[in-house]
């Protein structure tokens, strides 16, 4: 069935069966491959995207559920050539190695800026625990998030 999704501010019309997840629709049909598949079962966070500004997992959402909702993927984060401060902070603090969990980490981290997460490193660790990083880049991730939060970016 045809469904029109608003992805990164643009309408995208796809012809999908109801069983197609947002994640597979993005990766296999829209060829927006920044959003990663790590587990396909809500267990790793690699597929984190924003729906109406809130972080969610694309692997557990059917594409058809999202008609009329605003979807943001990592591709929609940077303003043209200018990186979002979170992206820049991830580079600066080496908040990744292989980079595969990174899109999910960054989308989670950006959403976190608007959540009532406490100020401490421990708070950030807890709020970011839904994003596994098997490369173990956690200290860099926390440093990046804290830097952006302290700079007051939204």
């Amino acid at each position: 069935m045809p469904v029109t999704l608003r992805i990164n501010g643009r309408p995208v019309t796809l012809d999908v069966e109801p069983r197609v997840t947002l994640l597979d629709a993005l990766r296999e049909q829209a060829l927006l491959t920044a959003t990663k598949k790590g587990c396909d079962h809500g267990q790793c966070g690699a597929c984190t995207i924003h729906v109406d500004g809130r972080r969610q997992l694309a692997c557990l959402i059917l594409a058809v559920m999202l008609a009329e909702r605003e979807i943001t993927t990592l591709e929609g984060l940077a303003a043209g050539d200018e990186l979002h401060p979170m992206q820049a902070a991830f580079i600066e603090h080496d908040g990744f190695q292989c980079g595969y969990c990174t899109p999910g980490q960054i989308m989670s981290a950006v959403a976190l800026l608007n959540e009532p997460c406490g100020d401490s490193d421990d708070d950030v660790k807890e709020c970011m625990s839904g994003n596994l990083c098997r490369c173990g880049a956690y200290p860099g991730i926390v440093a990046a998030v804290q830097q952006v939060r302290r700079a007051g970016a939204r």
């Binding site: 069935m1 069966e17 109801p18 069983r19 997840t21 396909d40 079962h41 809500g42 966070g45 984190t48 809130r54 972080r55 969610q56 997992l57 557990l60 959402i61 059917l62 058809v64 559920m65 008609a67 989670s108 959403a111 976190l112 959540e115 009532p116 660790k125 807890e126 709020c127 970011m128 625990s129 839904g130 994003n131 596994l132």
Partner: protein, 335 residues
Amino acid sequence: MRPFEYTAATDPADAVRLVAANDGTRFLAGGTNLIDLMKLEVETPRAVVDINRLARREPALEQVAELPDGGLRIGALVRNSDLAWNPVVQARYPVLSEALLAGASGQLRNMATTGGNLLQRTRCYYFRDTAMPCNKREPGTGCPSIAGHNRINAVLGTSPECIATSPGDMPVAMVALGATVHVRGPEGERAIPLADFYLVPGLHPERETVLRHGELIVAVELPALPFAARSHYRKVRDRASYAFALASAAVALDIHEGRIRDARVALGGIATTPWRSFEAERALVGHAVSHTLFRTAAERALAGAVPYAENAFKIELARRTLVRALTIVSEMTAR
């Protein structure tokens, strides 16, 4: 996933009608459990009815509203994170906020709904693997967990047919608070005390609640319980976050001059249902706060526990978790 029909309902009455009309049709809320299980083919509905847009017709489904008697009515589509962050919940029922925040992850809590959370299914390894037999998934095929891996499974409320743990955190807090579930079916609405909502496996592990097919959960009501402002949820798990409970305790205490006037106790991670422990509550009420008292209450709570090869530790862990939660609540100053 098998193919299925998808309908996005905008009217609760339509949703109920569509689901009730066909045994193979399911409500779809946050999807975090249903879609997961459909991928595993543990659930194979022929049709799903998306209930995420029902609030357009009935805004209460997405609202948390204070009731005139001091209670709280939580719409079934309220997301777990919104409920956890709700200031009234945080002030009056901290145990509930804490339980929600101890569950899943930030992303999942943004998706998961109150109704869906109540109905999430067990994480028993065998239940989630269709290559294995399982009485809950396919009645009569046997329970391979009993003589297999059962570290995460239950010690309370089990039967020879099934020992699967009820995995949720939020329901444990709600059971402790004495919540009531409001459901709407083809024959109208009814209210079910949450403590009566869940069924222990007995001979029918496939039946988990008293909900009838086609009944839509519309709300959960929490009674006014002023002393719940002194309440706490303690969860113990295999890693610091993003893991299901090995044991958890939800506790609220009404303490007056060092004596317990009233108590609410429920346990999670160790039982086949969110486990209200009236035994522990009875042991507590009327007595002076002390470590010995808490220990006695914990012994009572676990009195009927039956261990399996890998999960005997849960009995002692649950006792200690409960003692910890009681201790913390007893040391709180009333807010």
